[in-house]
Amino acid sequence: MKPIDLDKVQEKLESFTDKDVYVHLETTNGAYASHVNAKAYNVGVYIRNAKVRFNQAKIVGDGKSYRAGLKMEIGWIYAEGLTDWEMFEGEKLLMAGHDREGRLMVALQISETPFNY
């Protein structure tokens, strides 16, 4: 993946509006967080291949870390901490936030076809 280019990602996000799309949304601090640090908590969530439709999409950030919000008819999809992006297999928009050790902390991915499961 490469560092997020706001204009390019914004353009891609808009290409998915008003269509049925599949979303992968995830955040994690790893399965060993409280094992390696007794004071830490294990927290994680993911949803894969949620079929949604959004009519507005925007990515906002300061040049290092970005937030994306997708507005649906009756709700929102939101991700914070995104740093990198790529178009995968030409048509799947992958966005992710990595820490300085290269570990994924958050991911938001959008595609018109389902992700492998």
């Binding site: 993946m1 992968h24 995830e26 994690t28 790893g30 399965a31 060993y32 094992h35 390696v36 640090n37 007794a38 993911y46 990198d84 790529e86 995968f88 297999e89 799947k92 992958l94 992710a96 990595h98 050790e101 290269g102 570990r103 994924l104 902390m105 991911a107 991915q109 992700f115 492998n116 499961y117």
Partner: protein, 221 residues
Amino acid sequence: MEKHVVVIYPHPDDESFGAAGTIAKFREQGVPVTYLCGTLGEMGRNMGNPTFANRETLPEIRKKELIEACKVLDMELIMLGYRDKTLEYEDRNEVAGHLKGIIEKIEPSLIITHYPEHAVHPDHNALGAAAIEAVQLIDTEKRPTVWAQAITNTHVEDLGKPDVINDVRDNFDTKMDAILCHQSQANGVIRSWNQSEGMDNDLKEEAMKRLGFESFYIWKY
């Protein structure tokens, strides 16, 4: 001497960090070893450092790393096809039945797996429990011995001293070679060791300290 050893862990790299030295010792004795690897670690968060994987490419990358590690350890590989982080939600009896079918074909004398509830990761606990149940379903006279690996920080307090403690420092180069096949994962794991203490000292020395012994509890049925 063992007739055949079957290793059952859920993630590519569990075998290398957890039991590579033990596996190498068995292979030196000419004992066949088969690894039943539960998942492809699809939901791992280490993407390499610098990152070279993403959520979508990680499974294929880890599959290749797993195949390489199994070559280094000279063991047969069977991929079970479950999905990372989901093993505890699968039907326990179904997973046990799946494992039992494979175990009955191989007829191993020894099975190595995780100690349920003492193996930190939910997948470790769930697959360990299914493996132990699979063996329970086999006729008493045909049952292989089970070595269960506990990795919680408190396992000695909770369970007592492990029954089997293998000093694998003689096979440490093989173990490190196997670990380093898991290129996407190894760096992240090794780096996490020195978060607290400044680990400038030799990587191999530190690895030896942490991974030079592989210990197991003999499961009592």
